[in-house]
């Protein structure tokens, strides 16, 4: 028997708003949906979405995927050399951020980083030669995400670089990220001058061994508890990592002492860490990817497991659609510019760091980080509103990451492509703005939204898989 007759009526009104008035006047609860055509009225998307919303196959798959994400236990195991620890990374391979891209179409900062990495690896003596070998196809390129890795901005990881190793203690999957170089002229913004390459060499020869020895001395660090504390200390671990970097630093100091590292070596390494408020960002990203990778490959699931940009395209991957990227042009970032720079200087959105939002922190946990709202051009109210809004496009909340400002509610997590398309609410991303010319560095920071087209493409593809291609 239907639930309608003989039960108290409660109406959802969508379409003609005036129909809600007499219902409300009769004292009956009525929820007015601010309806507009999903996906700008694209008939194929509208139909695909109707096949996925409330579909039990998708609901079951999402429960499984989301539970795997929640259950993941990322631990920081140590530091390794990229070519030795990253599976399938060839000796002439450079990993980069975002979805796949070739040399010719890379944006300025990414080409700059490739040139720097080619010189760092000794494949080229100068920038000109680096351009030539890249142009001749003598370097193979692959997204970090295809090798379990993530990198901020250009995200270039070369074979000899030291990388963070994060292991999922629950499911066993491994993820990696490079070490953060700090601000200013750095490889991830496309800089490749000798000072940049010298710093990278120093990081490999001096910083990495100290950190590795320190971590070895104290044992793997559980990352979720550390990140949860950092959220309570005002970080959202995308654009603000000052608290998390400090918490990691405490451990490293103790580790360095326990490991018996010389005071001078320890001081050099830790001085670098102290001076870099973004030191934890790359660890945060590897942890986020680690949790999300646990949710990958669940047939039918509409949960987003990757959001990443290469400076040209924004791409997402979804648990139920395997390794397929759904892409759209990378958006411009709305934000504040450092003095002397304007929007005309900005590159398009770039970097794997949107993995933080995908995992429910970053822009999704903005309410926890009121101190950075001005940095990204917002207000504390906007920060709360952003986090609240993301609740409507996610599968649930992550009780491991709570937000004091929202009465310790868990952060919204597990972006559902169906909900994004059905509501038109796009994932909010806090991000830095790169100069569009290689090597200038960061010129500002701000807020952006993931492009809608990525999600509509994903909905169509997933509906094809779930319903066997036949309309139902």
């Amino acid at each position: 028997m239907s639930t309608l007759i003989g039960n108290p009526l409660s109406v959802v009104n969508l379409g003609i708003d005036a129909f809600a008035d007499p219902i409300a006047a009769a004292g009956v609860p009525v929820t007015r949906v601010q309806w507009s055509p999903p996906a700008g009225g694209d008939a194929q998307v509208v139909r695909a979405l109707a096949n996925l919303v409330g579909n039990p196959v998708v609901e079951d798959a999402n429960r499984q995927a989301f539970a795997a994400y929640l259950d993941a236990e990322p631990v920081l195991e140590g530091i390794g050399i990229a070519r030795e620890v990253i599976r399938g990374m060839g000796s002439r391979t450079l990993l980069h951020s975002g979805p796949p891209i070739g040399w010719d179409t890379m944006c300025g900062p990414m080409q700059g980083a490739v040139i720097g990495a080619a010189m760092l690896e000794g494949w080229a003596r100068d920038a000109e030669e680096a351009r030539e070998i890249a142009g001749r196809g003598e370097i193979s390129f692959a997204p970090c995400h295809h090798h379990g890795a993530v990198g901020p901005m250009a995200g270039v990881i070369s074979p000899s670089m030291p990388v963070w190793i994060v292991r999922n203690a629950r499911h066993g999957n491994m993820t990696y990220s490079n070490l953060n170089e700090g601000l200013g002229k750095v490889l991830r913004y496309g800089a490749n001058s000798p000072e940049v390459l010298d710093r990278l060499r120093w990081m490999a020869s001096h910083l990495a061994p100290v950190v590795e020895a320190a971590l070895h001395a104290i044992g793997p660090i559980e990352l979720k508890p550390l990140m949860a504390r950092a959220l309570h200390m005002g970080d959202e671990m995308h654009n603000r990592n000052v608290a998390a970097s400090g918490l990691l630093m405490k451990q490293l100091v103790l580790g360095a002492l326990k490991a018996g590292i010389s005071a001078r070596d320890a001081a050099d390494a830790l001085e670098f860490v102290v001076g870099n408020d973004f030191f934890f960002l790359n660890v945060s990203m590897a942890a986020c990817k680690n949790m999300l990778d646990a949710a990958r490959g669940v047939p039918g699931s509409s949960m987003v497991t990757t959001m990443a940009r290469n400076g040209v395209e924004f791409g997402i991957r979804v648990s139920g659609t395997g390794d397929t990227w759904f892409t759209a042009p990378a958006p411009m970032v709305e934000g504040l510019y450092f003095s002397g720079y304007t929007r005309a200087d900005a590159a398009r959105d770039i970097g794997d760091s949107a993995i933080t939002e995908t995992a429910g922190i970053g822009g999704f946990a903005m309410a926890a980080a009121p101190a950075i709202v001005q940095f990204v051009g917002g207000t504390p109210q906007l920060a709360l509103a952003n986090t609240m809004e993301m609740l409507h496009i996610t599968l649930g909340q992550n009780a491991a990451f709570t937000i004091p400002q929202l009465e310790f509610a868990g952060t919204p997590a597990g972006i559902d492509v169906r909900k994004v398309v059905d509501t038109g609410i796009l994932p909010a991303i806090n991000t830095g703005i790169a100069h569009r010319e290689p090597g200038v560095g960061q010129v500002g920071a701000g807020l952006t939204r993931a492009p809608a087209e990525c999600f509509t493409h994903a909905v169509v593809a997933l509906a094809g898989l779930v319903t066997g291609g036949a309309p139902r």
Partner: protein, 529 residues
């Protein structure tokens, strides 16, 4: 004369909001025509067909397309500016944030359910091309659905209804204009007293007529469930009608059932009647346009007209034998028809009213009655824009409402037609339906009376008189104030029937007497002239 178009990107508005805005712009000085539409393929085509839009447009379905034709550039600029200003105050703009974050207004059915988990009915009135998708989503999310939207394909209707069956949910529609659930009027419904009579109907105005007459006869309605006009076709199989019968059979608040539809496909009719026989509650069956069996059949009571259905249901609810229908009262109207004035013209806003009227009028006059919605195809009017002989027009039919508001909301189309019918020297009687209730025009008689008076004056100049007969489908509790509506029409010389059937009886009587009386009078007049 100048015409210009504007596109406002991503500014979705519902059709009624856009119609109101179009009407407001059209009323500005110097503006000839103004049209604001969501730029769907169909709407853009329509603007082309009407000649209003001549250039190419890159407007997308989620954009509002504004087209204005005005007598001067100044008027044009004024109207376009006004349109853009009205659309700029976006209904979707996030509310200004004060102390804390405002709750996000629901943008989808899933979001609405998250905000109100007790929800059990989705009232869907989105444009037709999106309606099936919204209905599917609502059903999968566990809601019953009232699908007001039309333009849903038969295939989609079948898919929607089989999903509803599998989930044990009710679907009313598509193209379900009216319903009453737990006494609550939904969409275009009358404010009807609550009672023990439950209705299931494939016809919107049929349900409105029966429920408002039940109210007028002193009984009340538990639920009135719409099924959509195609439900009782072979293709759809009467799924909603059968589900509705089951729901009311199990409802303690319902003692008497009324089933109303145009004559269903024969196999479906058998299934529906078989289901109705099983439930044991007294059930009135009204298949409008088909002569019913004379005798009652177990718990089934057959009614010939909507009025009969209401009358029989009322007596069953009151537990007394169905009262005989009172004979047609002598119409308080003295016709002075000129020679040749013999035809009845019915100008209807309600589809089922027009359908029933063409059938009843044919029977009452013993003559051919032409219609754009005839019971028998042989009486189909070739061109619905021109009447001939006795004609009954459904002005709510697709050919009249494409790109235009429904005649229950906007009386201009019918008023124009009244004036044109009055020009025709054959016309003796014009019959009009006046639908009250939620969703209908707030003051229909005020909209109609000027046209009626103009028509009467024009007839008078030609030494003719035209009888206007009307009935009001509504209750005393409807927002339009029924007694005032009746008084306004009576003051304009309109003869009022109690129901559609009553109005047709009166119209036929007047027409017959006019025909009989006319030759001598008009002959004598002609001699005088």
């Amino acid at each position: 004369m100048a015409t210009a178009t504007r596109i406002v990107r991503g500014a979705y508005r519902d059709s009624i909001a856009l119609m109101k805005l179009s009407a407001a712009l059209a009323a500005m000085p110097g503006v000839e025509q103004a049209s604001l539409v969501m730029a769907t393929e169909g709407n853009v085509d329509l603007l082309r067909q009407t000649g209003l839009l001549t250039d190419d447009t890159d407007a997308r379905p989620s954009d509002v397309l504004i087209v204005v034709r005005a007598t001067s550039d100044k008027a044009l600029a004024g109207a376009l500016g006004e349109a853009e200003r009205s659309l700029a105050t976006s209904a979707l703009a996030p509310a200004a944030h004060g102390g804390g974050p405002e709750p996000v207004a629901p943008r989808s059915t899933a979001m609405a359910i998250a905000a109100a988990p007790q929800s059990n009915l989705a009232l869907v009135s989105v444009p037709g091309e999106y309606a099936a998708a919204e209905a599917m989503k609502a059903l999968r999310l566990g809601l019953n659905v009232m699908l007001f939207s039309d333009g849903v394909s038969v295939e989609d209707e079948v898919a929607i209804k089989s999903l509803a069956q599998a989930r044990n949910l009710l679907v009313m529609g598509p193209d379900c204009g009216t319903a009453i659930v737990n006494g609550v009027p939904l969409a275009f419904a009358n404010v009807v007293r609550r009672g023990v009579i439950g209705c299931v109907g494939a016809s919107g105005t049929g349900l409105q007529q029966i429920t408002s007459l039940i109210d007028r006869y002193g009984q009340g309605v538990s639920h009135a469930l719409g099924t959509g006009g195609r439900d009782l076709s072979e293709a759809v199989g009467g799924v909603s009608m059968l589900a509705g019968i089951q729901a009311l059979a199990g409802d303690r608040g319902t003692r008497v059932l009324v089933l109303v539809s145009k004559p269903p496909a024969p196999s479906i009719a058998r299934n529906v009647l078989a289901a109705a026989r099983k439930i044991r509650k007294p059930t009135v069956v009204c298949f409008v346009g088909a002569e019913p069996p004379a005798a009652k059949d177990g718990n089934l009571h057959y009614a010939r007209t909507l009025e009969d259905a209401a009358r029989i249901a009322t007596s069953l609810a009151a537990r007394r034998a169905p009262a005989r229908r009172t004979a047609a009262r002598a119409p308080p109207f003295r016709a002075r028809f000129a020679r040749g004035q013999r035809c009845v013209r019915g100008l209807y806003s309600g589809g089922t009213f027009a359908y029933e009227a063409s059938w009843l009028l044919g029977a009452a006059l013993g003559d051919e009655v032409w219609s754009n919605a005839p019971v028998h195809k042989k009486f189909a009017l070739r061109n619905p824009w021109t009447s001939h002989g006795h004609t009954v027009i459904d002005l709510g039919a697709d050919e009249f409402t494409r790109g235009r508001p429904h005649p229950m909301i906007d009386h201009r189309l019918r008023n124009d037609r009244i004036l044109r019918e009055a020009e025709d020297p054959e016309v003796a009687v014009i019959v009009l339906d006046v639908v009250l209730g939620h969703g209908a025009h707030p003051d229909p008689s005020a909209e109609m009376v000027p046209a009626i008076r103009t028509a009467q004056a024009a007839a008078k100049r030609r030494k003719r008189q035209i009888a206007f007969v009307a009935f009001l489908c509504g209750t005393a509790d409807d927002p339009q104030d029924l007694p005032r509506q009746e008084a306004t029409l009576r003051d304009a010389g309109v003869v009022l029937g109690q129901s559609n059937a009553d109005a047709i009886r009166i119209a036929a009587a007047i027409a017959k007497r006019g025909t009989a009386a006319a030759p001598s009078r008009s002959a004598s007049k002609r001699r005088k002239a």
